[in-house]
Amino acid sequence: MSGSERIFNALFWLYLVAFGLYLFAPLIIMGAAAFNESRFPTVIPWQGTTTDWFAAMWADRTMWQSLWTSLIVAVCVVVVAVPIGTAAALVLTSLHARAKGFAYALMVSPLLTPGVVIGISTLILWRQLGIGGGIFLIVLAQSTFIICYVMLMVMARLQRFDRTQEEAALGLGASKVMVFRRVTLPFLRPALLAASGLAVLQSVENYNTTLFVRGFETPLTVFIATKVRTGLTPAVNALALIIIAATVVGAIAFEIARRRRAGRPSP
């Protein structure tokens, strides 16, 4: 290895370490601050280790209320987005090439629309109909773009689908509805489960769209952002740490399940 290459390698590893630090230092510091006695969440100076902030968070009734709101919204989003996204994938894959391009552009357009614009346009439309911000509009606005993710995941799975399976079932005398229920849907099951998981995550973490259609509701992200502005204490960090722990466990489980499935030939 030449000298310049060695320097280049050393610089690269330095960059890699800096990248890792950039990625994880913020999360670690935020989590650690939940155990500091200081009233403002920080790690320097360390004023003593405590778990009081977890108790304070646990006792906060508005936090539980907002968690509840977020969960209701997430469940409703799954109920709306998964069937529509699946239908969109099935319709799109059976269109002819020319119509497909246009329909596809229209169907992915919500992904390329800023979240605030989706919230605003939904709010305006429904005001005309006399319905103001609230859980109903949050679900509709979030679903508008979450449907795209479901559609893309189902389409990816459909590409590996062997249509002769459907034809074989038809040939054996099954009705078309039966073929869909017994052949197509079971094949899509893993994608539908993954899409539901992603939909819950996207829904709970959404802020930009939700902010405009929330009305008097306070979902979890709005609750946290409001706390940051009006009275941030490490109790919010305690909540953040619990959410992070839950997401990390969920993400790792999701990845392991995905890799295990990927390693196995599909049914």
Binding site: L23, M30, F40, A87, V116, L140, N208, T221, V248
Partner: protein, 293 residues
């Protein structure tokens, strides 16, 4: 469409098409059309709606062009979002190249998992993490002062803080498309360029980057759009001097009480993002169908 009908029969096909129409007509098209309608009408008291003064005009959009503060914030949001996209690219490119061309299978699976984990965590929490780090008496200032790099704490809140948090938030949207694009590059091409005497710099600018053009364009498009439409980072990390266009829009709706002007501003933001998307894809000759992968 005939194919769908033959495949699933009349009942199921009708249900599928109806569901898709509810989405595209009711949730995508109708809200946007109503927003355009709002943007082109004046803000009137309820009694005057439908009256002689209720006519279409571009007055609300002209207002944005004429209002010096709003215009400045709008232009600043554009270039700051472009800066976020560029910075994210510079931060991501080396690691994307390493992952796609150099890393072993084992290294790759660990690094991929490590990179994905932070992005499963909510954007508000990631912004909160930066809020804590960048606080005036926070860890970053303390570390820098202990190292003797600075003598007095720096007020990070403002443009710098917003940039750091946005780049952090959108890394994955840049990294994955670039990684996917570079991965499809044959290692032999890089070696051929090296054997012919190309410097590392030329290998990247003449071989790798042109090959990864589509991935880079996709990353730029997403990062720019997300940055320009972001509300949480500028709201939590901004200073009065670093306001973002989305904050102005928010104020029209919930403080200014002029939804028509708010709709016009939102429309301008939407058109801007669509224009950036289409122009970037055109320049890089990428098909919209490849973007969403």
């Amino acid at each position: 469409m005939g194919d769908l009908y033959r495949r699933f029969g009349p009942g199921l096909s009708t249900i599928f098409v109806a569901l898709v129409l509810v989405w595209l007509a009711g949730m995508v098209l109708a809200p946007n059309l109503m927003m355009i309608d709002y943007a082109l009408r004046p803000n009137l008291p309820p009694a005057a709606i439908g009256g002689p003064t209720d006519t279409y005009s571009l007055a609300n959009i002209a207002y944005l062009a004429g209002e010096a503060t709003h215009r400045t914030i709008f232009l600043k949001t554009i270039w700051a979002s472009a800066l976020v996209a560029l910075t994210t690219f510079l931060v991501c490119y080396p690691i994307a190249f390493w992952m796609a061309q150099r890393a072993t299978v084992g290294q790759l699976s660990v690094v991929l998992l490590l990179i994905i984990i932070p992005f499963f965590i909510n954007e508000v929490l990631r912004t909160l993490a930066w809020f804590i780090i960048l606080a005036y008496r926070g860890p970053l200032n303390a570390v820098l002062m202990n190292l003797g790099i600075i003598e007095a704490p720096i007020r990070w809140q403002g443009d710098g803080g917003v940039l750091a948090a946005m780049v952090y938030a959108y890394i994955l949207f840049m990294l994955l498309p670039i990684y996917n694009a570079i991965e499809s590059l044959e290692k032999a091409q890089i070696e051929a360029a090296r054997d012919l005497g190309a410097s590392p710099w030329r290998i990247h600018t003449r071989v790798v980057i042109p090959h990864a053009k589509a991935g880079i364009a996709t990353g730029f498009v997403f990062t720019f759009m997300l940055a320009a439409g972001s509300y949480v980072a500028p709201a939590l990390l901004g200073a009065p001097g670093s306001r973002w266009f989305t904050e102005i829009i928010y104020n029209w709706f919930f403080e200014g009480g002029d939804w028509n002007r708010g709709a016009a501003y939102a429309l301008v933001l939407l058109v801007l993002c669509l224009a950036v998307v289409l122009v970037t894809l055109k320049i890089a000759r990428v098909n919209l169908a490849d973007v969403a992968k």
